[in-house]
């Protein structure tokens, strides 16, 4: 019996013997059980690695996908930059990707009239029709040899950007690829570049710092590395003191030991005074800066007294720096605490206390430069003035100091030169639409005259057809009609472009002026790409990967759309672009892409090959191959090499320059280009410095639009901890948690006034008010709040969309919900860096409605 | 003439009732989102009305006890009506509860199936069943007693029941309901030892006032003199005594709020003198004027007695409203905003509807049972 049974079984269960293993694929690994130590989630639940681009922290994140839906978000523990953490805004992305107001299908405009109050009357079309139309327009330009009248605008990006932003524009044959960088924080890079040769943001080693002096940055709520700093802030407070310079009580200021509510635009004065205190009290860090010569008659800095050197090093022997005595003579000697107290509106005691404690903490004393003091007209010098404090305390490149980015090893896409034909070459030779490099626009990005972009000035170029008209424009991941100051100019500029394509997730203000709207993938959930960022002494390269199936007919704007367009162009006899794209092959199989989807993936694998291919290993994390890299989602660099750059900086003198020979060379080159001298350039560009002062960090008075009499209050713009750049206003979570920005109210857009001003202008809490500046006016509610400097009115950026969705606007396409700061901020610039001024630039008056 | 008046009166009542029904329908479909309640103020006007009517219910039962046990012959004529009012306002109060809770059907099961003996709510809901049942039985006794004046059994039953009902009214209706609030430690405004006497006192005075109103209207409309002069005088004295009691307690409250300098007290005082000023004034001035009216010689006669009764009813409803609403509006944490409650139209519809329903029930009870004539004969 038993035997026969067994035989039966064996017969039946030879079963096993012929290819059963597949059933394992259908079934989840565990059904009746769950792993106790690990997360036990429903059977078809998975964490997929991707990246959050809610701000430029660019944290590596993971998305929990259950039954094909994204349900949860968490930080990717494999990243050494954000270490499994993510800030609050990463979670709002769920409401972004599942925003019912996202555009489902391509659309075209049927109302030929363009303007703020014109309903575009969009109608859905197919991708084919949309791309055919665009291809026709481009071909028309090419046929007429006017490819320079094509323009590409981009906002946020991944590093796949070059495929559309750079290569596509070049191959079509236009000089006009305009990025948003100048409305980001270019001036923040200005100071570090002209002192230590790094055109980049910094990372700050708060784990080892003893004193952190923060200038107009709010790292616990916005940019950069919010996740990293939030994770270590509380415990770091045990060993570090924090002083925050900001006209409003930011969240970082509430978690600081000192709040210095400086008058807007006067940061430079404070910085100079602090440097003055450090020098007169002998608190500079001697192993980095150096000291007075032993046999020198002068052995200290005395207020008001110039120090004369017959030849450099006579009196003061510098080690890793250059030009300290010149700086003292040109700028610092008279910048006493009392002088600064008057300028900044702070008490002399506080300035002295902060300066002394800051100096005593050297070299673990960080001067942290944020956008606040620098994204101002003349902000470039404030950027230098604040940043150089890092050199006085020896925090540059030091433990507990201000560090640059670590090395990473991504590969740039192949050169397009072989694919640029004669038409394109001719087109490319034209001048750019944003006027960079002209006499009044030095824009010394990386020291080169006209090296950077002047995003906001492109509007003027388009409106005035200067240097030429724009006939066809494609834009992606941007919303200049909302995000650029004096945004009304963009409304006029965009109305003027006869054929405008917008690649976007939501129908935005920009979209309202477009002829074709292309629905785009959400960066975090539906897109292939990679970005890099740094903190914690590491740099990571983190992948953006589709974690869910797109539920609408959307495409990736940086890869799939240009590919599809290239296919259309090829059909019209212009195959260069497609040929170029096809040259980017899958490194694993060496296969050329054949579809848009393949192109998106192959180009990403191409760009990151050195990170994941063990045969091409160069450093940092090592992977067995693409599959592992894609699963982990992030590559980490080697740890930070401290003090490696001391004496080897990328400046003219190889040293940290208090007297910037680098800036001198750049400015002189720009002056020479325009056959004039540096003083003339400075005058043209609205700076106050003349002579050699132009080459040292120094204080410049703020430049504000409007008179004090007519517009008595200074507007203070700031960013919310819930802003996913300007894109969270259509999420209900954003509005109901808005009161988590200290001083703000939930479900409201408020402008905050100090009770003193409120009394002066007879405004009560909750009043409906109008903020009027010389260039525009917005409506919002009044909030009376003590955390605001008297004489200022602070308002958060992010609301005031008149088109972004049902939640974001009171009436879509017509009436905004709240007010957009950019309507009242005048288009003003720090012309040396090209940066748009957001702060310390706008005077307003308050009118009760 | 009389007919037309009563037609207008009844159509008004029915119209209001229909409005109330409309309100109930809307609220049932949409949920309590149509009311003014919020996270901070979860109990609104329904609960205020509930406390008002539960007070009247208990109060008028107590009056019936007084009449019966102390054999107050002057008031014999309203004895039946006190019980009728007691029952109807109990039903009304429960209706307000039903309007207030999310799952009325589940609520009906509270003392029977779903029990939590630590909850005062459990005891007060038991009390509604017991009390309601006994009131019905008492009513039946009265009807029988009146219909069979010879049969002493019903009178005796009624007397025993009246004696039972008194402690019930005091102990299991007023106490748990007053305590419903004062047990809540979270709301310091309620968590005061004198709240219960205040609550009970107010209940009594409002019940007496309601009886006066009924007596006056019966007299005017039905041309039946329910109360003779000495009865009115007696009631007048009762009212003076009770009004004074309530006023004293009010005064005490005010002083405590004003001068204790506890944050809740200060907030409550602010609320009383700002957003709730109207109700506060109605409460205090109503009682003061009613007292003055009663104190003057004519005050213990109709119509002055009637006017003072009306004032008292208004004052007590204002008191109930303030008690419930302010108790919740005071922020629980320092720095938190005061969240104001305003009843919405739907809430007002439903309140009016329930009140109209009670009035109609009273008419039907008195009218259908043809007790009017019987009483007349009896007297």
């Amino acid at each position: 019996m038993e035997n026969s049974n067994r035989r039966n079984f064996i017969k039946r269960a030879t079963l096993g013997s012929v290819g059963v293993a597949t059933s394992a694929m259908i079934l989840p690994k565990l059904k009746a059980f769950s792993q106790m130590t690990k997360n036990s989630l429903p059977v078809d639940s998975e964490w997929k690695s991707t990246t959050c681009q809610g701000c430029t922290s660019w944290c590596s994140q993971q998305v929990n996908v259950i039954n094909g839906r994204a349900v949860r978000v968490r930080g990717n523990a494999s990243s050494k930059v954000n270490m499994g953490e993510g800030c609050v805004r990463s979670h709002i992305s769920l409401q972004q990707v599942y925003d019912p107001d996202r555009i489902k299908v391509p659309m075209k405009r049927t109302n030929p009239k363009k303007g703020r109050n014109e309903d575009p009357q969009f109608v859905p079309i197919t991708w084919d029709e949309a791309l055919d139309t665009i291809a026709d327009k481009i071909m028309e330009l090419r046929d007429n040899q006017e490819t320079h009248k094509y323009m590409l605008m981009r906002g946020r990006y991944t590093y796949m950007r070059d495929l559309i932003y750079d290569r596509m524009t070049k191959i079509i044959g236009s000089p006009n690829n305009i990025s948003h960088s100048a409305i980001c924080a270019e001036a923040e890079k200005f100071g570090p570049y002209f002192t230590e040769g790094e055109w980049a943001y910094r990372q700050y080693d708060i784990k080892n710092a003893k004193y952190v002096l923060i200038w107009g940055a709010d790292p616990l709520s916005a940019n950069r590395q919010v996740a990293y700093y939030s994770a270590f802030w509380g415990d770091s407070l045990d060993h570090m003191q924090v002083a925050v310079v900001d006209p409003r009580l930011s969240i970082t200021a509430t978690k600081a030991s000192e709040w210095l509510p400086v008058k807007p635009g006067e940061d430079g004065a404070l910085a100079s005074a602090i440097a003055h205190v450090l020098l007169t009290k002998g608190l500079w860090y001697k192993p980095f800066v150096g000291d007075f010569a032993e046999n020198s008659a002068i052995n200290r800095f005395e207020a008001g007294k110039e120090i004369l050197e017959e030849k450099p090093g006579d009196v003061f022997q510098e080690i890793h720096t250059h030009g300290l005595i010149k700086w003292w003579n040109l700028e610092l000697k008279d910048k006493t605490v009392e002088w600064a107290a008057e300028k900044t509106g702070l008490s002399a005691e506080q300035i002295t206390r902060v300066a002394e404690n800051f100096g005593k903490a050297a070299p673990q004393a960080i001067s942290w430069v944020g956008g606040g003091p620098v994204m101002q007209a003349r902000g470039g010098y404030a950027s230098m003035a604040c940043h150089v404090l890092n050199a006085l305390t020896g925090a540059v490149d030091n433990e507990g100091g201000a560090l640059k980015a670590n090395k990473e090893y991504t590969i740039s896409f192949p050169s397009p030169n072989d694919y640029i034909d004669a038409i394109a070459k001719a087109g490319k030779k034209h001048k750019k639409i944003d006027h960079r490099g002209r006499k009044e626009w030095p824009v010394l990005s990386k020291g080169k005259s006209g090296g950077g972009v002047i995003t906001n000035n492109a509007a003027e170029g388009i409106i005035n057809e200067d240097p030429n008209e724009i006939k066809v424009a494609i834009a992606y991941f941007n919303n200049f009609a909302f995000s650029c100051p004096q945004s009304e100019r963009w409304e006029r500029a965009l109305s003027k472009i006869p054929f405008l394509v917008h690649c976007t997730t939501n129908g935005s203000e920009f979209t309202q002026f477009s002829d074709i709207v292309l629905p785009c993938s959400h960066h975090m959930y539906e897109k292939w790409g990679y970005v890099k960022s740094y903190a914690n002494g590491y740099r990571h390269v983190t992948l953006l990967q589709p974690s869910i199936e797109p539920f609408w007919d959307v495409k990736i704007e940086e890869t799939e759309i240009p590919w599809l367009l290239a296919e259309k162009l090829e059909k019209r006899g212009f195959s260069n672009l497609l040929d170029y794209y096809k040259s980017i092959k899958d490194p694993e199989t060496n296969k050329a892409p054949e579809t848009d989807k393949e192109f998106a993936l192959f180009s990403l694998k191409y760009a990151t090959q050195t990170l994941w291919d063990p045969n091409q290993y160069k450093g940092g994390d090592k992977f067995s191959g693409w599959d592992e890299f894609s699963k982990v989602g992030v590559w980490n660099s080697d740890p930070y090499p401290f003090r490696k750059r001391w004496g080897k900086m990328k400046t003219k003198t190889k040293k940290f320059e208090f007297f910037s020979e680098t800036l001198k060379a750049s400015l002189e080159a720009h002056a020479e280009k325009h056959h004039t001298d540096v003083d003339d350039i400075l005058e043209t560009c609205n700076y106050q410095a003349r002579g050699e002062k132009a080459f040292v960090p120094h204080y410049e008075e703020p430049l504000m639009k409007g008179t004090k009499e007519e517009f008595p209050l200074v507007h203070v713009d700031f960013k919310s901890r819930f802003n996913r750049e300007g894109r969270s206003a259509n999420c209900t979570w954003y509005h109901e948690l808005k009161d988590l920005d200290p001083g703000d109210n939930a479900n409201e857009d408020v402008a905050r006034l100090n009770p003193i001003d409120a009394k002066k202008y007879n405004i009560k809490d909750g009043d409906r008010i109008k903020l009027v500046s010389p260039v525009g006016e917005i409506e919002c509610n009044a909030k009376i709040w003590e955390g605001n400097r008297p004489g200022t009115i602070s308002k958060c950026y992010g609301q005031g969309h008149w088109a972004y969705g049902k939640v974001a606007s009171e009436e879509f396409g017509k009436k905004p919900r709240g007010g957009n700061n950019n309507v009242i901020i005048p288009a003003e610039y720090d012309r040396l860096s090209g940066a748009t001024a957001f702060y310390g630039t706008t005077r307003v008056k308050v009118v009760k409605i | 003439m009389k007919n037309i008046k009563s037609i207008i009166w009844y159509s008004c009542l029915i119209a209001i009732l229909l409005l109330g029904i409309y309100g109930v329908i809307v609220q049932t479909i949409e949920g309590h989102a149509v009311t003014g309640i919020s996270k901070q103020v979860p109990w609104g006007i329904y609960i205020a009305a509930f406390t008002f009517f539960i007070g009247i219910s208990a109060g008028s039962t107590i009056i019936s006890f007084i009449i019966h046990v102390f054999k107050v012959e002057h008031l014999k004529s309203i004895e039946f009506k006190t019980i009728a009012v007691g029952l109807i306002s109990l039903v009304g109060a429960v209706l307000f509860l039903i309007a207030d809770v999310g799952n009325p059907i589940r609520m009906m099961k509270v003392p029977i199936i779903m029990r939590n003996t630590s909850s005062v709510f459990f005891y007060s809901s038991i009390s509604y069943y017991i009390f309601g049942g006994l009131l019905v039985y008492q009513l039946v006794n009265y009807v029988r007693a009146i219909k069979n004046p010879k049969n002493e059994k019903f009178r005796r039953n009624a007397r025993i029941l009246a004696i039972i009902l008194f402690p019930l009214a005091m102990g299991i209706v007023l106490v748990p309901d007053g305590a419903l609030f004062s047990f809540v430690k979270a709301r310091e405004f309620w968590n005061r030892p004198l709240l219960l006497p205040h609550f009970a006192n107010a209940a009594l005075v409002s019940a007496v006032a309601v009886m006066v109103v009924i007596a006056y209207i019966s007299e005017k409309i039905e041309k039946v003199e329910l109360l003779n002069l000495s009865a009115k005088v007696l009631i007048g004295y009762m009212l003076i005594f009770l009004v004074a009691g309530v006023l004293f307690l009010d005064l005490f409250d005010i002083l405590v709020l004003r001068y204790s300098e506890k944050p809740e007290g200060i907030e409550a005082w602010k609320a009383l003198t700002n957003e709730h000023l109207v109700f506060f004034l109605v409460n205090i001035l109503g009682l003061v004027f009613a007292g003055i009216l009663l104190l003057i010689r004519k005050g213990r006669e109709f119509p002055n007695l009637f006017y003072s009764a009306i004032l008292i009813i208004l004052a007590i409803s204002a008191y109930r409203y303030n008690l419930i609403i302010i108790g919740q509006e005071i922020p629980l944490f320092k720095g938190q905003n005061v969240e104001l409650y305003f009843p919405t139209l739907i809430e007002i519809y439903i309140c009016a509807g329930v009140t109209s329903f009670m009035t109609l029930s009273y008419h039907i009870l008195i009218g259908k049972l043809k007790i009017k004539s019987i009483i007349k004969n009896n007297i």
């Binding site: 019912p100 509380g234 509430t254 030991s257 | 949920g31």
Partner: protein
């Protein structure tokens, strides 16, 4: 066996309602008593670490599918002082899971009850909607569903021709009312609570049962929250409480809250 029958019927009922996923299919028997030890769960919030970002509030809404306008995890924030000596304070709040919970005491139906681990749980099936718990709770952490939750997501209105209605989107992605609906919540409590009942924080009991921490603890960006068992001397909560002098909200009321706070939000070392 009678018991089994009932369970079986329950199961069929559930399946009929279309709630059955593969995971719950096999769950046709009632849970048997586990032999896990009873715990006294508690949470510690380190205010010095807290940056007042509200991630706790947001991930809580996400985890528990909480509708707009309702917060299981909330905060108290206040600004005090006069310029420039201004102080801002922030205290995250949530259900304190009090040992002597007033809400449990006053609930007429035992819908609000304590579970074996000291979690104050709520049973929507028993809830009358009387809101007595809300009135009795000194911390204002209970909310009432005055209407069917997630009204916005039930709408069929489109923004324009090329967009979807919220309802359409949800149906397309296969969520339950909301497209980012978290099905795990439904393992121990309705995934989205019905109309006319109250709801509040459950210490993420569905996660705790699996040995995970509540989501707000997991996802606090500044790691300000610690969660554990007060009865276990080796637990981190116990050592943390010993290290700092903790406080609780409204301790004087004697509710014995189990959410403790340590250190200060504002580290200012100079007079503010």
């Amino acid at each position: 066996m009678e018991n089994k029958k009932n369970q079986r019927r329950d199961f069929l009922k559930k399946a009929g309602l279309g709630l059955a996923t593969i995971a719950s299919v096999s769950a046709f028997s009632s849970p048997l008593p586990t032999n896990e030890e009873k715990k006294r769960l508690a949470m510690i919030v380190d205010l010095q670490k807290c940056t007042g970002c509200g991630a706790c509030t947001l991930v809580c809404k996400n985890e528990n599918n909480v509708q707009d306008g309702v917060f299981w995890a909330n905060k108290i924030c206040k600004t005090e002082g006069k310029f420039p000596n201004v102080r801002y304070d922030y205290i995250p709040t949530l259900c304190n899971h009090c040992d002597k919970a007033p809400c449990v005491k006053v609930c007429p139906t035992q819908a609000m009850h304590k579970d074996e681990n000291g979690i104050t749980m709520h049973d929507t099936e028993k809830c009358v909607g009387c809101r007595y718990c809300m009135v009795a709770c000194p911390y204002q952490v209970i909310s009432y569903n005055g209407e069917k939750p997630h009204k916005r997501w039930r709408s069929e209105e489109k923004l324009m021709v090329g967009t979807a209605s919220p309802k359409e989107l949800n149906e397309k992605v296969g969520g339950d009312t909301i497209p980012y609906y978290n099905p795990e919540r439904a393992e121990t409590y309705p995934g989205i609570r019905p109309k006319n009942v109250v709801e509040k924080c459950t210490f993420c009991d569905h996660l705790v049962k699996k040995g995970e921490k509540p989501r707000c603890v997991q996802r606090c960006p500044s790691k300000a929250r610690t969660f554990g068992d007060l009865d276990n001397p080796n637990d981190k909560v116990v050592s943390l409480l010993g290290k700092h002098s903790p406080f609780r909200l409204k301790e004087n009321l004697g509710t014995e809250p189990k959410v403790f706070y340590i250190r200060n939000f504002n580290p200012g070392k100079y007079p503010r």
